[in-house]
Amino acid sequence: MPNMSLTKNPMPAQAPDVRNKNFLEVATGYTEDMAVDEAQRCLNCKNRPCMTGCPVAVKIPEFLALVAERKFEKAYEKITETNALPAVCGRVCPQEKQCESKCVRGIKGEPVGIGRVERFVADYHIKNGKEKAIEIKKNGKRVAVVGSGPSGLTAAGDLVKLGYDVTIFEAFHTAGGVLMYGIPEFRLPKNIVQKEIDKLKNLGVKIETNTIIGKTLMVDELEEQFDAIYIGTGAGLPSFLKIEGEALNGVYSANEFLTRINLMKGYKFPEYDTPVYCGKNVAVFGGGNVAMDAARCAKRLGAENVYIVYRRGKEELPARKEEVEHAEEEGIQFKLLENPTKFIGDENGWLKGVELLSMELGEPDASGRRRPVEVKGSEHILDIDTAVIAIGQTPNPLIKKTTKGLETNAKGCIVADDLGATSIENIYAGGDVVTGAATVILAMGAGKTAAAAIHEKLSK
């Protein structure tokens, strides 16, 4: 008999006024009993609607059934049949828009906490499990993967298991892409990401760091050495507001602010050499997950007032609801329906304020969201000494500029078909570099699809 509770087991978490002063993980994870109890809420529907919401098609009812029977390691094996990064997905997937949005239990009450149970299983395995040696029959073919973010790691994992000799090329000194430089420690601990990467290394994936494709090596050089190439370089180029004063000291792109903190461990300065300047009054511009991450980091660095400045209303915030709630609990102040018009600096070039214009919501625009319209004469100044611009990223143009015949669109994204095939034979692409900035799991799904397509192509 399933557990008929209408609500999910709540996720244990650090108290807001404690966690907003440290970088430890906010959500501390289910206990065994909580995971079993939650898994028992699954009705094991015959048509498995949840699976249709998962970009990597995790066999959800099957793994939940195994958790319900306390067969945690078996559950882990079930998840990893299709998902190479469960500890990551359990933490950062927008389950409310994917698997859990399709869960029958969500019609009346809350859906099964699939993500929370997935995370429990992955963490259980990290703590208690043993890596089973997988027998891989090498097929003698070589695939290069460019970029070691979620998309590249997924493609590499699938390809190496199919017998390919896989080398990942990474521009930074550390593999992991946005999982390492972007998402903060308190939402996705870096040792978890590192363990997932180490698993791939143990399977035989080679990782060449400090190698910038388009600079250190060109795509055509890779073509000479590899049978196929998968490009998963993400959306790494920060967008700026293009308003006056953006070069003032104290104005960061979200990429710079987060990279200093997460990848370079700036929050541990001076133990680590990389500093991160964070003042007392911080405004983060944008309303997505990256904006929430930046705001919550600023709070943890000791800022007294941290504002999210967003030009639309609360309903329109693109961030996950959970992230918005966490931010609010931690004392982040939301300045909604406000749009920056210029940054104001002091005589030494340091940021001291931003001029904001109030907005009101008009008719829905092409995205279906109500369009913000300026309220004339509503200019006012907000005193800030730090600004973080988190209004989006576009793909890095390095590969586009240096690869002849690689088709890209007006936004600079690589053009690829549903299977990831680009305009050049045997070169595939997927994730944010194709779609523009999206989610970790969609990038993983694209990596998975392309890995299958590469296998199909090279097996002919």
Binding site: N210, L237, E246, S253, M264, G349, N396, L398
Partner: protein, 284 residues
Amino acid sequence: MSYKIVRKEDLNPQVFLMEIEAPLVAKKAEPGQFVILRIDEFGERVPFTVSDFDREKGTVTIIIQAVGKTTKDLAAMKAGESILDFAGPLGMPTPLDHIKKAAIIGGGLGTAIAYPQAKKLKSLGADVTVITGFRNKELIILEDEMKAVSNKLIITTDDGSNGLQGFVTDRLKEEIEAGEKFDEVIAIGPLVMMRAVCRVTEQYNIPTTVSMNPVMIDGTGMCGGCRVIVGGETKFACVDGPDFDGHKIDWDAALKRSQMFKPYEKRSCEEGRCRITGKEHCNA
């Protein structure tokens, strides 16, 4: 992966050279490009302009002035030791092919960065005048090297201790006034020096390329920290530069931006992890 220091040489009391084994970088490097290195797990990513490269040996040479945490720690390292990360070549090469007669200006450490430009131009058959400036004669670097790659080498010192007193701008003006017709001036050195050179060349309408060296993290266009305002537009020194038209740079903004992390540099030197003694703090 790590990168071996195959040669280390002191050029003056503060400046030293490091030749580092990095075959892939050496294979692609061109004058004007830079690398980013990180000493170890705790290190900062710091850009250094490529001073020389040997494609056959697979080495890249950088010239370093010990002024901050990373550069002082590098100064304490020896040939045979390795650094953890070394990535490049980054940035765009300096366009040199069109130049027939150039004045290359190096201010202090900038001389090291100006050297590959002079070398390449000379090899392309251009007429090369090199003007380098130092505070005093003890600090002069690369004299023989520059002599070998220039038609004329002028070394000037702020205090006149080498027999020629004045700034690089004084020497440049003299050359121009004496009738030398430069197609282009390439100025590399501290921001104030590059700005001063640009003010001179503006008067004579001589196109001038400068090399910007702002703080950056990745060096591939990702952090946007290296923003430089050029002709009213925001450019990234790492991917659009590091060379820009010196007459279009917003020098005031660049000078102010260069101060952003100054207080941290001092703190890092005093309280940062000590790589020399292995102590937790440099002052411990």
